[in-house]
């Protein structure tokens, strides 16, 4: 099937810690990345808050997942995008974004790529299936 790898997009639209959607959604991404599928992840709406660096869930008594996001690239989840407008609406800039791994050659930190709604729409149109968490 290697000549017919399916494109599957995940959208993350919920705020990170008020419900379990984003956390259990992350578990799906990690599993699916191990399969023969072309995975991408787009954070939008309240989902962009999940990408803020410096999250501390200790006082909430929950595990949190910022560290796992930090190794997305190691899990071969490299196509990670964030919606520009959703960030702006929530007062976020590129400085707020956490790092998802480092470049294999240059060891430069990699952050999610900021794109606009038009680019997201174009990417969505190319997908075989889209899953939302």
């Amino acid at each position: 099937m290697s000549d017919d790898i399916k494109k599957i997009m995940f959208t993350v639209r919920n705020a990170p810690h008020g419900s379990i959607y984003v956390y259990e959604g992350l578990e799906v991404k990690l599993i699916m990345a191990a399969y023969d599928a072309d995975i991408s992840v787009v954070f939008m709406d309240d989902g962009v808050l999940a990408l803020k660096q410096g999250q501390n869930t200790e006082e909430l008594g929950i595990k949190g997942f910022e560290k796992t996001y930090g190794v997305f690239v190691d899990y071969e989840i490299e196509n990670v995008y964030v919606d520009k407008q959703s960030m702006e609406d929530r007062g976020m800039s590129v400085d707020d974004l956490l790092v998802i791994g480092e470049d294999e050659d240059t060891e430069e930190p990699i952050k999610p790529k900021i794109i606009d709604a038009g680019e997201i729409a174009a990417m969505m149109a190319e997908q075989h299936n889209i899953m939302s968490f």
């Binding site: 259990e24 599928a37 889209i130």
Partner: protein
């Protein structure tokens, strides 16, 4: 068309399970194939035989079981189920517990994946 259906919410509290059920029935009536049904998040609560709704209400778990009896693959995520105390002993018939790999195969093999939940 080959469809897969994901259900993220528990029974009765949210309409996701009802909407998914009616969607699937309608899709089958229209001649579509259901590649599989996957319960995730609180959706795993939809298929426990411990539920006992009033007799004049629909029995959500039995309804899924009856659909499973027609040969549709109905899968409950093991990780989500274990978190919530859903194990083989409490499952209705014609439903199985398995891993997220099954969801992956549904996403790859189905023409459309339709999700019900928030």
């Amino acid at each position: 068309m080959k469809l897969a259906v994901c259900i993220y919410e528990g029974p009765y509290n949210h309409e996701a399970s009802d909407s998914a059920y009616h969607f699937i029935k309608a899709a089958i009536d229209k001649g579509h194939e259901i590649r599989g049904i996957f319960f995730y998040h609180d959706g795993v609560y939809n298929v426990t035989k411990l539920m006992e709704p009033p007799q004049d209400d629909r029995h959500i778990a039995n309804r899924w079981s009856e659909l499973g009896a027609t040969g549709i693959d109905i899968v409950v995520c093991i990780a989500a189920a274990k978190r919530r105390g859903i194990v083989d002993d409490v499952l209705v018939d014609n439903v199985r517990i398995s891993g997220l790999g099954q969801l992956t195969m549904m996403a790859i093999e189905a023409d459309r994946m339709v999700t019900f939940g928030d």
